[in-house]
Symmetry: C2
Subunit: 253 residues, 2 copies
DNA sequence: ATAATAGTGTCTATGAGACAATATATT
DNA sequence: AATATATTGTCTCATAGACACTATTAT
């Protein structure tokens, strides 16, 4: 006990290391997350976040990008991806022991002692960009995040709390960063951008005040072709990463 | 390639799993972080964050609390602790191979193939709470975070970037949460709390406007004994976790 | 024609920032 | 007495929020 943590020889706790992707988009006017239906144990038939293990010489960011391409079939270029946080999920022993998964070289007791560390990444996908599953038989689906709370699909592992954390982070980030534009393909109009805020936050915003706020935020938007009253101006993203001062987020919801 | 990540049997990437603590406090009017001088390879003689491996049946939060007590010799009760993010640091092969550490049951090539996953936790310690090292020979020191950028100590692993992330997060959190009070022991005065903001942000705040803002923020502060003009009122923390609207942070620095 | 949307302008209420005045404790 | 600090009050300015008006496009 008197020994300090750092004095100890490096403690090689065995762990399986995975990256889980929380792909968010706006679909049918609602914030939505991409889920995959599992067809093997554990949690067979439940919905789960797409993810996978780390490659042998891969860091976390590289793995998240590889898995993103693997899942969506698309390059991630203009999208926003960031690490959310890590989760240690104890895989239920009976579930793991009964796994129908193939080539596991570990005995059951070793597997049950195994812990799983998932590093979650949050990725914003532009509206209308649908994933192209590599395996046609796979069941992909966008789920509105509001439908996950009650009477929704049964989620695997602790993915429900991962999604909740991602949604919280997403809604917060819209206030003080320019990531909302990551949900749109360029060029876009102020109305389209406003609907992103409205749908993600679940509020209604005044179009005139919104336009005044965003067009006066330095570096957020770059006008492409100028619009006279009645014609929507097209914008591309500017170089600013943050909005100062933040976009006020209505509290009443 | 056509296979989806989730189709794969669970990919047990071997990894050493550690928790690193970023203990922050305000000391001599500056934001400071607790570092430990390493006395064994790798990075012998460098300064590192206190940390340690996960116990066999421990989750991340439990490990961070255990290591906090182990490091500081104090219970963590009123303090603020939160997960920062995870880092995959490839331990340099030659450094690892030459490690003077004891009881490693792995061969050198196995060790060099080992990757290290560190989950960083950020903890706020009250002003004046000094850690009680368990081993007297150990070199603990508070370092002002501003002294780490240039001409500072040599930091082990990627701890410099972990600390930078924690400092950014800490400064941001002061804007929209009530965690600044975690740096103080109760009860405290508005002046003490203002100095926390000033020291962490490196700015000067107007005392009158600061008092008006914080005392009008619902649930942030609970007055203990009322003070007439000239006598400082003593406060304890209220139940509010967030400050709405956020405390404006001067930009000029 | 009607509705929906985009841009512009105006008014008001709120709150941040700056400053002054007073009261108390400390040296 | 002089200094530092805490509370209260006032003034100004920026801006969010609400609303009106006009122009254009879609149905």
């Amino acid at each position: 006990m008197g020994r300090l943590a750092d004095d100890e020889p490096d403690h090689f706790t065995p762990a399986s290391l995975r990256v889980e992707l929380v792909l968010l988009t706006v679909r049918d006017g609602r914030l939505a997350v991409l889920l995959v239906k599992r067809h093997s144990a554990p949690f067979q038939g439940c919905w789960a976040l797409p993810g996978g293990g780390l490659g042998d010489h891969e860091d976390l960011d590289a793995a998240s990008q590889r898995l993103l391409t693997l899942t969506t079939g698309l390059e991630h270029d203009p999208w926003h991806a960031e690490q959310l946080r890590s989760y240690v999920s104890a895989v239920p022993a009976q579930q793991t022991a009964g796994a129908a998964g193939s080539a596991s070289e570990r005995s059951d007791e070793q597997v049950s002692a195994q812990r799983s560390v998932s590093v979650a990444y949050m990725v914003f996908m532009p509206v209308g960009t649908d994933p192209a599953p590599g395996s046609a038989a796979e069941a992909f689906r966008w789920w509105a995040v509001d439908d996950l709370s009650d009477d929704g699909p049964v989620l695997a592992f602790d993915h429900a709390s991962i999604i909740a954390d991602a949604v919280d982070r997403c809604r917060s980030k819209l206030e003080y960063t320019t990531v909302a534009a990551s949900f749109l393909q360029e060029p876009f109009t102020l109305g389209e951008l406003r609907r992103i805020y409205e749908n993600v936050w679940g509020v209604k915003l005044h179009h005139s005040n919104f336009a005044r706020k965003l067009t006066s935020s330095p570096g957020y938007l770059v006008a492409e072709v100028d619009g006279s009253p009645g014609r929507a101006t097209l914008y591309r993203r500017g170089s600013a990463q943050f909005v100062m001062p933040p976009i006020p987020r209505p509290v009443g919801e």
